[in-house]
Point group: C2
Chain length 473, copies 2
């Protein structure tokens, strides 16, 4: 089964969810303990004794952007093959064991990480570690096993990318935005390269990147740190550090000197739209201020329809016009990434409004915003929403485990994770405007039009396909 996960719009949860959050009366954050085993494995324990369950996540500091050229998709292919077998365990045994103890498991691959997770009753934590350490050290599969799995990932690409014009469009946008960095290559891989991937390629990728010294273990739930340490030492401690692991170095972007545009026509497009992606800085260790400002900017520009800048300016009629320019306008930003990331804006034009007109209206709205600055009332409301969302996310231990794992494999530290809410609250309107002035530069952006065949009637409304940040098993 294939599931995609999307970047949440502007990094906050929908308003409807916020009501639930308030009702839940979130507790103060549970204690977090961190330590490192002798073989280099970093361990983070998040205590949460409200239920007798535990989430066990192993995050590797390797993802699609670490793939060798020409082998796109190998990180995700390996993630699939990790469910085959080991020297002593049969193919499929991993998931069968998890299921037999009433647990559930999954895995996902991003540009910067590959993660495996299980949720089980707390008693089975040691068993999960035993299984996970085994496939870290002793992965084994035959051609009879890897060859059909390649068809599985190809089928997955067919369904979740090629079957969706919006996904193909996002691929083309990124391939155009990134001139040098492998963020321009899709996580799932280019089909023509996936077709040539082999079990040996996956094994070589495993040998180069998998090992305790390139992984972060996150355990969240009804556990005590000292017990987790003892279990981790027993199971993971036996795996030696992998001397092949090298520092992560990806090609970085050269200066962007030219505004770029793409136009994609696909007969399946029911509702055309304009999507723009700007190159934007990510959260950096010890330096999250600009990323925080961009997170607030995304919410201010594209948060809710009735309160956001683009929502107000584009989705309501502006006299003398009797109808609005757009059905919707949105903004999103992915702040957690090892290298420079993107800040995106999208406009879905109203019926009878062309893409050129919608784009012009978007640019006029941005120019007005850059000239007028931020409405203080709106700024205060956005800060409240962001704070509530952050508090809400802290209340779910699985969500906390996830955000810590992602951060620690994307160049951040636990201190950065802890300081993120504070960084968001410290954002001033001036910082937002400064970040907007820097990042909203069309010379460092791609503007894309996705459209159906000429003169085809719009069958919309259809949602804008938001960028995928990971592929799940």
């Amino acid at each position: 089964m294939s599931v995609f996960s999307f970047a949440r719009r502007s990094g906050v949860v929908p308003a409807a969810t916020l009501v639930m959050a308030a009702a839940a009366q979130p507790a103060a954050a549970d204690p977090v303990h961190a330590f490192t085993l002798d073989n280099g494995l970093e361990v983070v324990v998040i205590e949460d004794h409200r239920a007798p369950a535990v989430v066990h996540m192993l995050w590797y500091r390797v993802g699609a952007a670490d793939e060798p050229p020409g082998l796109s998709g190998i990180a995700h292919f390996l993630e699939h093959l990790m469910f085959k077998g080991t020297d002593t365990r049969a193919p499929g045994e991993f998931s069968a064991v998890v299921e037999s103890v009433g647990g559930r498991d999954n895995a996902f691959t991003g540009w910067d990480f590959t993660a495996y997770h299980q949720r089980v009753a707390a008693d089975y934590l040691g068993l999960m570690m035993e299984l996970e350490a085994d496939r870290m050290a002793n992965l084994a599969f035959t051609e009879a096993e890897w060859l059909p799995e390649r068809d599985v990932i190809l089928e997955e690409r067919g369904q979740v990318v090629e079957g969706r014009p919006g996904s193909l469009f996002n691929e083309q946008i990124r391939a155009t935005l990134f001139q040098n960095h492998p963020y321009g290559v899709p996580i799932i891989g280019w089909r023509h390269e996936m077709e040539g991937l082999s079990g040996a390629d996956a094994m070589a990728f495993h040998a180069a990147h998998y090992g305790p010294n390139n992984a972060v273990l996150i355990v969240a739930g009804d556990v005590r740190p000292e017990a987790v340490r003892a279990l981790a030492e027993e199971h993971y401690g036996a795996v030696p550090a992998n001397p092949a692991v090298a520092p992560r170095q990806r090609p970085q972007e050269p200066p962007h000197l030219a505004e770029r545009r793409i136009k994609m026509t696909d007969p399946r497009v029911a509702q055309p739209y304009v999507l723009r992606q700007y190159l934007a800085p990510a959260r950096r260790a010890g330096d999250q201020a600009e990323a925080a400002a961009l997170t607030v900017l995304a919410e201010i520009l594209g948060g809710t329809r009735t309160t956001s800048v683009l929502g107000r300016k584009l989705t309501f009629a502006k006299p003398p016009a009797e109808t609005p320019v757009a059905l919707s306008a949105s903004a999103w930003y992915m702040p957690v990434a090892l290298d420079d990331t993107s800040f995106a804006l999208a406009v879905v034009p109203a019926e009878d409004v062309g893409l050129a007109e919608a784009e012009a209206a978007l640019d006029a709205a941005l120019a007005e915003f850059l000239a007028d600055g931020i409405d203080p009332e709106q700024f205060a409301r956005v800060q409240t929403r962001i704070r509530a969302a952050e508090i809400y996310s802290r209340d779910r231990s699985e969500s906390r485990a996830r955000s810590k794992g992602m951060a620690l494999t994307s160049g951040l530290t636990l201190a950065d994770v802890d300081g993120w809410t504070e960084a968001l609250m410290a954002v001033t309107p001036e910082a937002v405007m400064a970040a907007a002035a820097t990042v909203l530069d069309r010379q460092r952006a791609v503007t894309g039009w996705l459209q159906g065949p000429e003169a085809a009637p719009r069958r919309g409304p259809a949602a804008v396909e938001q960028p995928m940040t990971e592929v799940s098993q």
Copy 2:
């Protein structure tokens, strides 16, 4: 000193040169001999006894498109460092020796090859081989030598790329055209990556790619094949094959699904222009028909102003208009490349004509051409021009050596080189129109506008910067 070499427009020499060619009454091609040494070195000997000189060229089957990600420019940096020293020769000794015998030497790097050549009196051929084999096997340099050379290549980038908006524009066009293939990375390198190149990187690249089994030796001039073989066996035969040499495999392009556009503004631009590059097939071993048709197409579309399709349609006034749309219109195509290459069109608008209007006129002219087909008289004229240019180029042994070296390091065989004129002559108008219909697809193209600051007076005329295909030492 730094010299750039440009792709010749549509692969033929200017008309003025053709007159000289006719006057020279070209001889039939001199005999060519080819053999391979036991260590894998391919040797091609082109006899030409008209002057007692010899051209000695060593071509490696490695270029900028074979560089590891993040180390752009390393192939060219190594080419510079090859002039330092060896285990037994001092830095600069190579060129000093060549000069002392009255010869001249140079080197150049392309995406697909790196080549070193000297022209000397025929008596010194053995000496050239001795020197070249020495640096193939025993290259050596210190940090005191490589560190300043890095400043030299950075300075070279400053002069020939950053100092010329047209060069920067070409870089941005290619970075946008190629979504996956390293042809999108400049031969000279991205500055931010060049700044980090080290002598160790260059030595590792040398160790991975340089060796007799990855090289082609071309000797042209007043020599006998048996004498060349004896000298080659004496000097190059002593160098063992390099077991590190691996088959060349570069990431290939995914399907291009979206038309792309870029707009670059640079205050130094005196004359704006429109440049479009389409992804296009290159000459392939045993299959040169489509490349031949594209070569003819480039000449038909953009050959001389008075006879070419774009020249006629765009640079002469079309009643009722009193002035033409464009000052010039050109087309070029680079048929020799290991992987898919590009077909380019450019239009320099007339004074008071905007880039949008110029581009629209270009597209209208192309649409007319695709609808109307080829004028038979023009087709005959173009074939005559191409034949004359090919015959002319065959008359210069250095040019023949060069074209053979480039072909043999770009996936072609001597048979392909020999068959190229025939392939060009076999092109039919139907084949040209079929190639045009396939390649002139905006979904597989980038259209770029290069312009000066808004409202700046045009200081033109200035020539369109044609794509660089190599960087010389």
